[in-house]
């Protein structure tokens, strides 16, 4: 087994407003090893992005606050670090890429300047060397004519190129962990294919771990080794990619996989998960999926199930507990 890069234990991140408390992340456990890709899937509001921001301690406070748990990065608890220590971690040993690269690039500097600035900041190399390294990085992420591109401004690049630049910036300091929050959602399929291909290639070459956040079950199937399915701030299922797709256990995972139209299977009518996403500020003390679950029994609305090992998967569902038969 490879070395563990990141381990999260019972992470809780809440958002406070004058009226209510929104438990955006409410007890997440996960583990990422070196060279491994963990895919976090779920729908909007399930807490996947908040988990990511919590790792970097970038939750806007107020209104947000990490109220519990541990985030162990190579054995050190990130939640115990000072802000100055965190700055040394961010963009250095953990970096992040976002869905919309345009908003994370500064429009008034050339991409070459921004890249070499990031390299200088974290590695303390001379200006000239940083510039050369920036061009190397652009070449690594498959930007054609990198010398020329380095002199261009973000708005002169296409969406796919910008995302490549963002990735170049993110990996320029050889991070141990790359957090990718919906990196290809804003891109077209043919460009998405390019970017995913490049990310796979980079991961193999640099041996970093990746946490890939997405709502696209197809993208995780291609990219991830492990998958964590989130629903309403909680992990509902966690297993290897093969296990999840072959033998999904949680009714939500099953429903999710069945409800997407597929290129390889014909169905007359799509499977539907009835109902709507729950209101996070008003969650019952029970299974969060119970109101929409086709298999729900009385126990589901009374007590919340724990995340339990069932076969090769971790599942949060009463179906697989001894109490189910009573």
């Amino acid at each position: 087994m490879e070395e563990v890069i990141l381990e999260i234990k019972d992470l809780k991140t809440y958002f406070y407003s004058d009226k209510s408390v929104v438990p955006a992340v409410n007890g997440i456990d996960l583990l990422v090893r070196k060279g491994e890709t963990l895919g976090i899937v779920g729908e909007s509001g399930c807490g996947k992005s908040v988990t990511c921001l919590s790792i970097l301690r970038l939750i806007p406070d107020p209104p947000g606050k990490i109220v519990g748990g541990q985030i162990l990065f190579k054995g050190e608890d990130l939640l115990a670090k000072t802000e100055a220590e965190m700055r040394a971690v961010r963009g250095n040993s953990i970096s992040m890429i976002f869905q919309e690269p345009m908003t994370s690039l500064n429009p008034v500097f050339t991409v070459g300047d921004q890249l070499s600035e990031a390299i200088r900041l974290h590695q303390g190399v001379a200006k000239k060397e940083a510039k050369q390294k920036a061009i190397d990085m652009l070449k690594q992420v498959g930007v054609p004519a990198p010398e020329q591109r380095a002199r261009e401004y973000p708005h002169q690049l296409s969406g796919g190129m910008r995302q490549r630049v963002m990735i170049a910036m993110a990996i320029s300091c050889n991070p141990d962990l790359l957090l990718a929050d919906e990196p290809t959602t804003a891109l077209d399929v043919t460009i998405q294919a390019q970017i995913l291909e490049m990310m796979r290639d980079l991961k193999d070459r640099l041996g970093m771990a990746i946490i890939l956040i997405t709502h696209d079950m197809g993208v995780v199937a291609e990219m991830a080794d492990q998958i964590l399915v989130m629903y309403a701030g909680k992990a509902v299922e966690c297993a290897t990619v093969k296990t999840i797709y072959k033998n999904p256990m949680h009714p939500y995972t099953v429903g999710l996989l069945d409800s997407i139209p597929r290129m390889d299977v014909d169905v007359e009518k799509l499977h539907v998960i009835e109902g709507v996403l729950p209101d996070l500020s008003n969650m019952p003390e029970a299974c969060c999926f119970e109101p929409r679950c086709p298999d729900a029994r009385s126990i589901c609305s009374q007590k919340e199930p724990d995340l339990e090992q069932v076969g090769d998967s971790l599942v949060r569902c009463w179906k697989y507990c001894p109490e189910w038969r009573q």
Partner: protein, 325 residues
């Protein structure tokens, strides 16, 4: 031009839509973005035609031209055999009743200051179809048709989730018994679990009311599920069109092949030979000479650079614009 087997509900001839690019103090036109650059298509009654393509290929603009929300630069749109550009203002307004639209963003496409009843009732008022209690009953029936209930009548859009709002948008489009509904990415903004609800609804309504859809989407799997026929656009042109089943089994154009192979399949057990296209979509203000796809095509020849291929029949109802055929 594509051959017509029967009188189609809609057909277009050589639709072009250019947007001028203006620069400088005097706002001089220095060029044109050729969003749609010569599109011929037809949609039969009761059919769902899927238009697929990547962002900037002109598929949404094409939809707006067919809706006559944007005037075309050139070409003609025929609806039930009638040239829409020949219609007077009043006649055009009457025709709008028959062509409705469903938008991508359910948060932006409803007036935030109108209740559900007012929103759905507005087209009924505009065309003076019903009043008072009769109108109310029609609205209630529409709400039921799209899976909402009478209790929602007096609520405002912000009280609904994305999927519910999309249902309201659909009810509004249905209110005037349209012949054609242009669906502009109707499920792209929705969450996965809600998406399938709305897709099923669209499918059910289509067969129940014998609706005709022009279904614009970048998501091939959605189009495959819902549409009878597919047309692929690239840089303002249709480069291939075929019945859905045939298209997804045997795409002919190299771009279609690449597009299909790029869609991730949610099954790690399936491994595919992926065609990864190099480079980006060229600027539609200045599309490449010859075949528009030649800058990214893995099979390009000298002919492709020199001459633009036309849409040719390559099978039953299957048309492709590529020199290889």
């Amino acid at each position: 031009m594509e051959k017509l087997e029967m009188e189609p509900l809609v057909h277009t001839v050589g639709i072009k839509k250019y947007y001028p690019i203006k620069r400088g103090v005097l706002q001089k036109t220095i060029g044109h973005v050729k969003a749609v650059d010569g599109v011929d298509l037809y949609i039969n009654k009761g059919e769902a035609l899927g238009i697929v393509g990547e962002s900037g290929c002109g598929k949404s603009t094409l939809g707006k031209v067919i809706l006559q929300l944007q005037p075309q630069t050139e070409g003609k749109v025929f609806f039930e055999g009638q040239d829409l550009s020949q219609l007077g203002k009043e006649a055009m307004r009457e025709t709008r009743k028959k062509i409705q639209v469903i938008y991508q963003d359910p948060y932006a496409s409803l007036n935030p200051r109108m209740t559900v009843e007012q929103s759905i009732g507005d087209p009924i008022d505009v065309f003076k179809l019903a009043r008072g209690e009769e109108k109310r009953q029609i609205i209630i029936q529409l709400l039921k048709d799209v899976g909402l209930s009478e209790s929602h009548l007096k609520r405002y859009p912000h009280e609904f989730s994305g999927g519910q709002r999309q249902r309201i948008g659909i009810a509004r489009a249905l209110a005037v018994n349209p012949g054609l509904i242009v669906c502009d990415e109707p499920v792209s903004a929705l969450d996965v679990s809600v998406r399938s609800q709305v897709l099923n609804l669209l499918q059910e309504l289509k067969s129940r009311f014998n609706l005709t859809y022009l279904f614009i989407s970048h998501d091939l799997s959605v189009v495959r599920h819902l549409c009878d026929r597919v047309a692929v656009m690239y840089l303002g042109k249709i480069i291939e069109s075929a019945p859905t089943r045939e298209f997804f089994v045997l795409p002919l154009h190299p771009y279609s092949k690449a597009l299909l192979s790029a869609v991730p399949i949610p099954d790690p057990a399936i491994s595919r030979d992926r065609i990864i296209l190099s480079g980006d979509v060229p600027n539609p203000a200045n599309p490449p000479e010859g075949c528009r796809f030649h800058t990214r095509c893995p099979y390009k020849t000298d002919l492709c650079v020199a001459q633009e291929p036309i849409l040719r029949q390559a099978g039953n109802n299957h048309y492709v614009a590529c020199h290889e055929f």
